[in-house]
Symmetry: C2
Subunit: 346 residues, 2 copies
Amino acid sequence: MKPPRTRSRARALAAATVASVWLGFGCGPRTDTHPRARSAETTPLASWNDGAAKAAILHFVATVTTPGGPGYVARADRIAVFDNDGTLWAEEPIYVQLAFAMDQVKVLAPQHPEWQTKEPFKHMLAGDASTLLSGGVQARTAALAAVHAGVTTDEFEAAARNWLRTARHPKTGRPYTDMVYQPMLELLDYLRAHDFKTFIVSGGDVEFMRVFADSVYGIPPEQVVGSQNQLRFELRGGKPALVMLPDLQFVDDGPGKAAGIQTFIGRRPIAAFGNSDGDQQMLEWTWAGTGDRLALLVHHTDAEREWAYDRESPIGRLDKALDEARASGWTVVDMKTDWKRVFAHD
Amino acid sequence: MKPPRTRSRARALAAATVASVWLGFGCGPRTDTHPRARSAETTPLASWNDGAAKAAILHFVATVTTPGGPGYVARADRIAVFDNDGTLWAEEPIYVQLAFAMDQVKVLAPQHPEWQTKEPFKHMLAGDASTLLSGGVQARTAALAAVHAGVTTDEFEAAARNWLRTARHPKTGRPYTDMVYQPMLELLDYLRAHDFKTFIVSGGDVEFMRVFADSVYGIPPEQVVGSQNQLRFELRGGKPALVMLPDLQFVDDGPGKAAGIQTFIGRRPIAAFGNSDGDQQMLEWTWAGTGDRLALLVHHTDAEREWAYDRESPIGRLDKALDEARASGWTVVDMKTDWKRVFAHD
């Protein structure tokens, strides 16, 4: 890892200077505007407790946005990338997108009698998600792609939008879009208020995330990177349509996230946020650039307000990336102590 | 094609109201800012002659940006996509990227003795581009991908940047980046001044275009969509690197352009600009959306100031798309009569 010493020193320094480093806002035109941003202008990171994680964020942003300072970064280069599941919203007890696919399998089953005896559909129709989860990201992503094969992107969007409106989280009974982390919403706002361009870079299906990313996170469709079915252009009833094929165009996970950043964004981020081993290479790629960088992992340590899991979890396993974080001086958020609130409804 | 009648009528109306429809600028924060935009504020489309093409552009922009009007489009949905070769800069007598690859083959040949007897390298080393051109887009794109296989994205960027600085256009002796169309630069500025977000959607290699798109067109890397090698994340000398593989991740041409728009941008454009049959489905996809749309083809009709070619050309063949343009009421730019100047140096 390049300049780890400088960064560790910067991080230690940051902890001692929490209050002093926060600088003013509104220093120019914004690349992203969103209603939520207003809250950030009064109290930045209000749901974050004072501590090393908050201090590292404040120090980093102050460093890269101080004109004339040694770490100044031009606005156009302030690219920040966020994993979605487990980083911006809850992924327990089931990936939201998997819950959607399990329901879609039931909706679409009458058109596919062969699904009754064919995997992965048979398990999904029986309500068994555990087999898919134990198969790893590639197998799971391929299964989800198969479920949605044959529908057009317009049909998929309508189905996902309708499902998100009506489906409820199995533990809290709330809409899934209520299960977003309030501190991370504030962090998104805070970065955008400092002219960062914020992207999602997630293993989840890009079409699914685009349905809610704008209204929930303030991230427009063109700033969402994810896994994706191959698409075929064809005329349906004389009208152009894009049909989702069973094969994957791209699996945006692990090393694929670093590749996805280059493929879809085309420049290296200066800040990256994740929560699992699937984010490790994205953080490595970000961290290895020149100049000051922020690499941050959300560590799920709060069994009471959310969930506590890491090295052994089939969902959002955090093992190697946690070791690398500690060795390299990445920032690790302890949800239990670093966050005043987890959800807006707390 | 949906509402062709309405659109034809709109176009006819537009021709009669060139002067009256142009509205004021600066009605809000810009999503893209670029020094060139200033020129648009004084005289929009200064290098365009009055005529049906200019009128259609002015009318369309007025329609979608008039608050409270029947055709008003929210700022975030003002997505405009541009082909690159032959639409924003000259593609004759050779695609610029092919010229770069032909030179790179010579630079890299000592490391690849097998290239002396292997196609497509053998032809390229002999300076013969015609074989590649006659092979079509898929074959050409695959050949270019093979040339760059094994280098990292950082190495590729450095090589392309250096080449663009030193290489000269075979006819004019100017840097290739001088061979951009002044009227199209003004059009990009004009759209951005009205809060459009401008994207390139080209069959060319995305990494190559990203090297110059920001400085030449004011289009940042994350708004460039193109064909692309698959990338592999690996550690080289302990540092993360993205290595270009010989296989293609994506061919962004023809039907692939409509798919690429959904894959990379995730929403349907309201305006699309091209010059060849490779742009046909991109224009169809754009045109088929609801509300007012602009679909425009640049027709190369000026053998004196640029080149004249269409139905029979191996470069930028314009045949089926020209027929569809005339049948559907798309806007066709006659370079000879519609453009006062072709290049800034004219």
